[in-house]
């Protein structure tokens, strides 16, 4: 399919017309900005600053276009961008390694290539779903950024002066515009040429359009996909170096939610999240549009502030910030809406049909749909032998999918006991662990349903924050009574779940992209409600939701007599009981009732389930709503327990919860997962966090490294699930070994 043939056949319905529309929209937005605020948008500086800031995002978007056309996703670019800037600072800054400019740049590019390779190998060779692999790399990268900067900014303006040839790249040149624009133009032209005119590009479109067919046609699709990840990461690394050149320093906030901006840009630029469609030119325009919206949303203009660092005066770009969180909310919505455009507007030719209808002509011929001759059959590696059936006793237990989680729970607890016998087996410690466990376990209960039904919910942590912040807002700002606050928190969380479910089930989009959008929207809204601050101080009646039983009894003036009952009431809090109740009901429904079987059937083979008369849409809808409900309850309880709302509540909880379900026997491909397993998985994650925080002989691990560690655990759990539980790699290796020993000649045959 060449561009000319495409253009001849479908004049304005495809990307070509799309880009013209984008350009018009950008102009319109810019002109309206100029009209509203001529001081900013009227000046040529404004245009230049727009182009300069677009440059870095657009460069990453060029790389991301390759990934998305491949039907993959790279969520790690934001953290790669930040990490490269940080590593560059650590290598180059006089206060750290003090290397020369060339080795620093070289090492940064190697780092970029390494991250790309890691993503690519995880996604292709190791068959980890793209969103989960790159999301984990995102969290790991962010952890590294925080750990390596210790949350501080690093600046090196003095040394930068010695290397004008590099640092001039981030500055305005003699012709009056920023050099980054030149780099961007160069990258865009090369990227557009490669994607549209070369074999590399054609292979990319083939892989994204129908990977199975591409494999049969002899295209090395794994390499094509790894290559795209390499391009994407290298583009992010380049952008990171450009920011280093511009700012001559780095803050730990570089690139935070950069992946959102970039993915939104590529999708708005006309690429399809369903693969096989996308153009570099469109992505660049999309980047410009997103940056422009971002700027308009920030109500004005980046200001250049002069900051004194030592004897040096440094120009630092700062921005007037709107209510914290407003921008991610809008960008998140933009992402969700943009994702709907390609499958619903372009593929269904809404514009063409409308035009034909207006002229009273018959509608244009529909594209052939559902007629893909070679559709990739989803092969889930079968367990070569049904170990569980033949085994007895201990073997039977080991063959359970949740055995790993249960063993790990016991092992980790004993580890804690042996490391700090004085402290570990202590009521307050057990209590603290139990509380941490309660929040995670509650989220995990809902997520188990979603994962078993073959979907994913990346927004649980953010929904937790949204519900908590809504409840806190009603309590503190509006002075509502506890019941109203709880009801409003539930309402907010359920709205988030509803949007997730509608976009996923109603509009038939992958759950990860819908819930990724919600991840930013809900967290942004949570911060927006409380204006980025910690809210605290409201009637104690609400806080009872997060108290120990005894505290509640005392609140109502009841005194328990000393004894076992009193001891129990002292330790157990109401949320733990509530969590156990929810888990019990959810577990029984999942394991013993028809609805649970429907969930497994839907996750196992959605077509077979539908053919068997199961309303799979309803099942998935309910599962997604349930996940949001559980996260919401966790959020409401979180606020009650802390007697305050902190905008960082629930951060990294999505990572913890997904890891819990997978460790507990769930499969990232759906169809598996039990409540017992998920609860044990949550216990593993809680204990890992508790152990890592444990102060052993004066040493305790900083929080940032713990998040890195949890990310590694998640990837390991997914890999174990795919390769050991499903593909039974050990069994296969053993068989091959045995066979190889007997007849070496036929081992490969």
């Amino acid at each position: 399919m060449t561009d000319e043939a495409l253009a001849r056949r479908l004049p304005s319905q495809l990307v070509g017309g799309w880009e013209v529309g984008l350009l018009a929209l950008i102009l319109l937005l810019y002109l309206s900005g100029a009209f509203v605020n001529p001081a900013f948008f009227g000046s040529s500086e404004a245009l230049q600053a727009l182009l300069r800031d677009t440059s870095r995002v657009a460069i990453i978007a060029v790389g991301m276009t390759f990934v998305i056309v491949n039907k993959d996703l790279d969520l790690s670019v934001g953290s790669t961008y930040g990490l490269v800037a940080v590593i560059f600072a650590r290598l180059f800054a006089p206060s750290f390694l003090d290397l020369g400019i060339l080795p620093s740049i070289l090492l940064c590019l190697i780092l970029g290539a390494g991250i790309g390779l890691l993503n690519g190998v995880l996604v292709t060779t190791l068959k980890v779903p793209a969103f989960i692999a790159t999301l984990t790399v995102l969290f790991i990268g962010r952890g590294f950024v925080l750990a390596l900067t210790h949350g501080q900014s690093i600046y090196y303006p003095a040394k930068a002066k010695e290397y004008p040839s590099f640092f001039h790249l981030g500055e305005t040149n003699v012709l009056g515009f920023n050099n980054q624009i030149v780099i961007f133009a160069l990258v865009a032209v090369i990227g557009a040429y490669v994607l549209a005119k070369t074999r590399w590009g054609y292979e990319t479109f083939a892989t994204g359009g129908n990977e199975q067919a591409a494999v049969y046609a002899g295209i090395p699709t794994n390499w094509v996909r790894i290559r795209a990840y390499l391009i994407s990461s290298l583009c992010a690394a380049l952008a990171g170096l450009m920011s280093a050149a511009q700012d001559k320093g780095v803050t730990p906030l570089y690139g935070v939610s950069g992946e959102l901006t970039v993915i939104a840009a590529v999708i708005i630029g006309g690429a399809s999240i369903l693969g096989g469609r996308g153009r570099v030119f469109g992505s660049c325009l999309g980047a410009m549009l997103v940056i422009l919206i971002d700027k308009v949303l920030r109500e004005g203009w980046p200001i250049t502030r002069i900051i004194k660092v030592g004897d040096e005066e440094v120009a630092v770009n700062a921005v007037y910030s709107l209510p914290v969180g407003a921008v991610p909310v809008f960008l998140g919505f933009l992402l969700v809406i943009a994702v709907l455009i390609e499958p619903w507007l372009i593929r269904r030719q809404i514009a063409g049909r409308l035009w034909a209808w207006l002229r009273g002509r018959p509608p244009p011929l529909a594209y052939e749909t559902g007629g893909v001759a070679l559709e990739g059959v989803q092969t889930k590696g079968a367990m070569a032998t049904d170990i569980a059936l033949s085994a007895t006793g201990l073997g039977k237990f080991l063959a359970r999918r949740d055995a790993l989680a249960i063993i790990l729970t016991a092992a980790l607890w004993l580890t804690g006991l042996s490391l700090r016998p004085d402290y570990w087996w202590n009521l307050s410690n057990t209590f603290a662990i139990l509380l941490n466990y309660t929040e995670l376990a509650l989220i995990t209960v809902g997520l188990t349903y979603v994962i078993a039904a073959g979907d994913i919910d990346l927004s649980v942590g953010a929904v937790l924050a949204l519900a908590g912040s809504t409840a806190a807002y009603f309590l503190k700002v509006l002075g509502a009574d506890p019941m109203t606050a709880v009801a409003m928190g539930l309402l907010a969380g359920m709205c988030a779940g509803f949007v997730n479910a509608i976009v996923t089930v109603g509009f038939k989009l992958p759950a990860f992209i819908a819930t990724l959008g919600m991840f930013y929207i809900a967290r942004g809204l949570a911060a927006w409600f409380v204006a980025g601050q910690q809210l605290t101080g409201w009637p104690e009646g609400y806080n009872l939701l997060g108290r120990k039983l005894n505290d509640i009894l005392q609140h109502y003036g009841i005194r328990l007599p000393d004894g076992p009952l009193r001891a129990f009431a002292d330790v157990v809090s109401v949320q733990t009981i509530w969590m156990l109740l929810v888990a019990l009901v959810a577990g029984i429904v999942l394991a013993y009732m028809p609805f649970g079987q429907k969930v497994y059937a839907t996750g196992g083979n959605i077509r077979a389930a539908a053919y068997a008369g199961i309303n799979t849409n309803r099942v998935r809808f309910i599962a997604l709503m349930l996940a949001a409900l559980c996260a919401t309850m966790a959020g409401i309880i979180n606020v009650a327990y802390f007697r305050s709302f902190n905008p960082v509540a629930g951060q990294f909880r999505e990572l913890d919860a997904i890891a819990s379900v997978i460790i507990g026997g769930g499969s990232i491909f759906g169809g598996y997962g039990t409540m017992v397993g998920a609860l044990a998985g949550a216990a593993v994650i809680t204990l890992v966090r508790a152990l890592l925080q444990l102060n052993v002989q004066g040493f305790s691990m900083p929080q940032h490294w713990i998040n890195v560690f949890i990310g590694v655990i998640l990837i390991a759990a997914v890999l174990i699930d795919i390769w050991v539980r499903q593909a039974n790699i050990f069994g296969r290796l053993r068989t091959r070994h045995v066979r190889g020993a007997r007849t070496p000649e036929t081992a490969h045959g």
């Binding site: 049904d386 009732m593 196992g604």
Partner: protein, 248 residues
């Protein structure tokens, strides 16, 4: 089925196609690619809606709007990929979507007992009804799919390319299973490219070509050369029904 017509856009997939199936009969439906075999079967099960023509089941005119409605009158289709959930066990798959209940709970004992009896009735050997379907071989998975189909007590079973993914041994076993079903009075339609299978178990062969009937023969009174010739060069004008061909 009488006078079935179906068009997809400008493509006329089926033109005035007739199909008769008698109780307990095994009918082989053959024809080149794009002959309209699958389309005809999808119209029969209600997955597609016909443009014109009539369908009678036991003399009663029917209008299926979905495969679920055709299932209610006893027409079952087994898809090429079996439509099973690999993550669930044999018993759960046989009763997919209609698991027996006891109160609000699933009645496991009843489910596995009935699954066992269905498998016995089919005379297929699946080690255990507790085995996960993804750990079964292709042939056994197909047995489960057939067991699932007959557990509805159907009058007609349609098998879409049943031998396409099977080994020689598994094909043998499948053909035995089909004979067993025939003995129990279940009519079957096989869509297949492998004439050899149809000649092994079939009673009658019907040939479609470019969406038209081009011939119909009793297996007893024909051979694969004749069928191949009809597939390659058959024409609507000189098509004979099985009875006409037999009379010659």
């Amino acid at each position: 089925m009488r006078g079935i017509e179906k068009a997809f856009g400008a493509v006329q997939a089926l033109r005035n196609v007739d199909l008769v199936l008698y109780p307990g009969e095994i009918l082989g439906l053959v024809g080149d690619n794009s002959a309209g075999k699958s389309t005809l079967m999808k119209i029969l099960t209600g997955a597609y809606q016909r443009d014109a023509g009539e369908i009678f089941v036991a003399g009663q005119p029917v209008h299926f709007k979905s495969p679920h409605e055709s299932r209610d009158v006893g027409i079952e289709m087994i898809y090429q990929d079996f439509a099973l959930c690999g993550n669930m066990d044999v018993g759960q798959n046989i009763f997919l979507g209609r698991w027996p209940r006891k109160g609000p709970f699933i009645n496991r004992r009843k489910m596995y007992a009935e699954a066992n009896s269905v498998l016995k009735r089919l005379k297929v050997d699946v080690n255990s009804v507790h085995q996960k379907v993804e750990s079964l071989s292709g042939g056994r998975q197909q047995s489960v799919a057939i067991a699932r189909a007959i557990s509805f007590g159907p009058r007609v079973v349609i098998l879409d390319e049943p031998t396409a993914n099977l080994s020689v041994m598994a094909t043998e076993r499948l053909l035995e299973t089909m004979m067993e079903l025939k003995k129990q009075g279940v009519a079957q339609i096989i869509i297949s490219h492998r004439l050899i299978d149809i000649f092994a178990v079939g009673d009658r062969v019907m040939v479609l070509k470019r969406g038209e009937n081009v011939g119909d023969r009793y297996v007893k009174y024909t051979d694969d050369h004749e069928i191949l010739e009809i597939i390659v060069s058959g024409r609507r004008e000189n098509a004979l029904t099985a009875d006409e061909a037999r009379a010659i």
